[in-house]
């Protein structure tokens, strides 16, 4: 806890500097760049790449959350219980399919750019959210559910006022896993011309420029760590309120 309070602002500042003022790091990265080659990636601003990277992850995760949670709600209703194995298989397949393969398959259909990456991230993100939402919705405290019915909440009211809020902390854990996976996986989207921080890494790999690879990798890594941490804080706060 103590380490976190010190480390968190340090990492945020480091990330901001890396994205907004990459030139500052030129002396640090210089030994890693090929002699005479560029040290700092300047073909696009790191800020705009970061924003586009985050937007891609946010859009894919939001879509995955909506679909996975809706699916979880459906299969945890008495009428939908029969579909639980099927939907589990489908979301599992999304996870088994390597994102690179999805990219390759999606390019002919969607063309180059952000489209295929969105599809890959969306499919890859479904499983953790779905599994956690199902767990959350099936492990609700029985006395609370009985009381909710007993005092006269109808199905919708039970879902919105009791079941979803109580399943929220567990569902959030799934969303967090999915977001962090997507943050890393989004980098390979740049192989099909999506604008992400992966562009910097790939440029570095193509020109044998370790400085580029490190810049891109460090920025993605810091985003992942900080977003993960922020979501853990939110979950902790929610869980505490609900009787932790």
């Amino acid at each position: 806890m103590k380490i976190g309070t010190v480390l968190r602002p340090v990492l945020v500042l480091l990330l901001l500097a890396l994205v907004l003022r990459p030139q500052w790091f030129a002396p640090l990265f210089a030994p890693l760049a090929p002699s005479g080659g560029p040290v700092i990636y300047e073909r696009a601003s790191l800020l705009s790449l970061s924003l586009s990277h985050l937007a891609l992850v946010a859009a894919a995760s939001a879509a995955a959350t909506v679909v996975a949670v809706t699916l979880a709600i459906l299969v945890t209703r008495p009428a939908g219980a029969a579909f639980r194995p099927l939907s589990r298989t489908i979301t599992n397949m999304g996870q088994t399919f390597p994102p690179v393969a999805v990219l390759a398959l999606a390019v002919p259909a969607l063309g180059f750019g952000a489209g295929p990456t969105l599809v890959a991230l969306f499919l890859y993100g479904l499983l953790p959210i779905f599994e956690n939402a199902v767990t959350g919705l099936t492990t609700l405290p029985p006395a609370t559910m009985e009381a909710a019915r007993g005092i006269g909440l109808n199905r919708w009211q039970r879902l919105w006022r009791v079941e979803l809020p109580l399943a929220l902390p567990v569902t959030l854990t799934g969303i967090r896993l999915s977001v962090v996976i997507a943050l890393g996986t989004a980098t390979i989207g740049s192989t099909v011309a999506a604008r992400t921080l992966g562009e910097v890494i790939i440029a570095g790999l193509l020109t044998n420029n370790t400085a580029f690879v490190l810049q891109g990798g460090l920025a993605v890594g810091l985003f992942a760590v900080l977003i993960y941490d922020a979501m853990v804080q939110i979950e902790r706060r929610l869980a505490k309120r609900m009787g932790g």
Binding site: G150, L153, M242
Partner: protein, 311 residues
């Protein structure tokens, strides 16, 4: 008045509740007692239609419970259960105000009602209103659970083993509180328990269930003095019978003139307590008082005579 009219619930070939009929007067506590599997909980849950009866019907003040949608019906019937079932993500105030809110009461009326109920259960509204259930003790959670069930002034309050999760000392207090609150509000309560002691202490009428059938429905004194079947006698407990009887009679019934030594008892205390005091301190009589003024005494002999008279 609640009329239960030959209500039956079958699960496959087994009859969980078998043609039970009973009438509950408004403003009384009726305790349904039985062993597990006797159908007592199923009977209770059929009243607010958490279980749909296979046949038969329930009428509340003459109106059949089948004439409205179940969730609308349940908003008119309070429901408190073992382990309270509070919403852990809502504050105490929101928990208590849950049903009035469903009934679209105006906000200020709900918050006034919440404060009123918290005060009734001796919980300071300013202190407890904004707490979450996890921040309360077991006894407080249970009181909030009952307060929630009473919030909309329901026609009827159903309680399923409401004190089951409490330790013995808190349970006794909770039972006394329930009695006082019931007398103050004039509520009609139906309560399920497996504990005959609780049934006798709380009930104006006691219904004993066995194997899905209502085997006896009578006043506590009647149940103890004249158990209808061996099962009822077993539930009452042969050895305990005289003591249970004495626990129903207040000292004011047999108080007489005369001196007695030692610490006085209140006139509202039961003969059982007086007997216990006699035995424990080796006295043959205990002084009785009401609100500090001496009324007289109750003798060991008088208690014995009274116990014999009942048998």
């Amino acid at each position: 008045m609640i009329e239960i009219d030959s209500i039956t619930k079958t699960y496959g070939p087994t009859k969980a509740v078998d043609a039970v009929s009973m009438t509950v007067e408004t403003g009384t506590i009726t305790v349904i007692v039985g062993t597990s599997g006797s159908g007592k909980t199923t009977l209770l849950r059929m009243i607010n239609r958490l279980e749909e009866p296979t046949s038969g019907e329930v009428r509340i003040n003459g109106e059949s419970t089948l004439s409205v949608k179940p969730h609308i019906l349940r908003r008119r019937i309070g429901y408190a259960i073992q382990g309270h079932g509070l919403f852990p993500h809502h504050t105490v105030a929101r928990n208590i105000g849950a049903v009035p809110q469903l009934l679209n009461w105006p906000k200020d009326k709900i918050s006034a009602r919440v404060d009123q109920l918290l005060e009734l259960f001796s919980m300071d509204p300013a202190e407890f209103r904004d707490r979450y259930p996890a921040e309360l003790s077991g006894g407080q959670q249970q009181r909030v659970g009952v307060a929630r069930a009473l919030a909309s002034r329901p026609d009827l309050l159903l309680m399923d083993e409401p004190f089951g999760a409490l330790d013995p000392i808190i349970r006794t207090r909770a039972q006394e509180d329930l009695r006082h609150i019931q007398q103050r509000l004039g509520s009609t309560i139906m309560l399920v328990t497996h504990d005959m002691e609780e049934a006798i202490r709380l009930g104006d009428r006691v219904a004993v269930m066995d194997g899905g059938k209502l085997v006896q429905y009578a006043s506590p004194a009647e149940i103890i003095a004249r158990p209808a079947t061996d099962f009822v006698a077993d539930m009452v407990g042969d050895v305990e019978r005289p003591l249970r009887l004495l626990s129903l009679i207040p000292l004011s019934d047999i108080v007489e003139e005369g001196p007695a030594e030692g610490a006085p008892l209140s006139a509202d205390a039961s003969l059982r307590e007086a007997l216990s005091a006699c035995l424990w301190s080796g006295r043959s009589a205990v002084p009785i008082e009401r609100d500090g003024t001496p009324l007289g005494r109750v003798t060991f002999e008088a208690i014995r005579a009274r116990a014999e008279m009942q048998a």
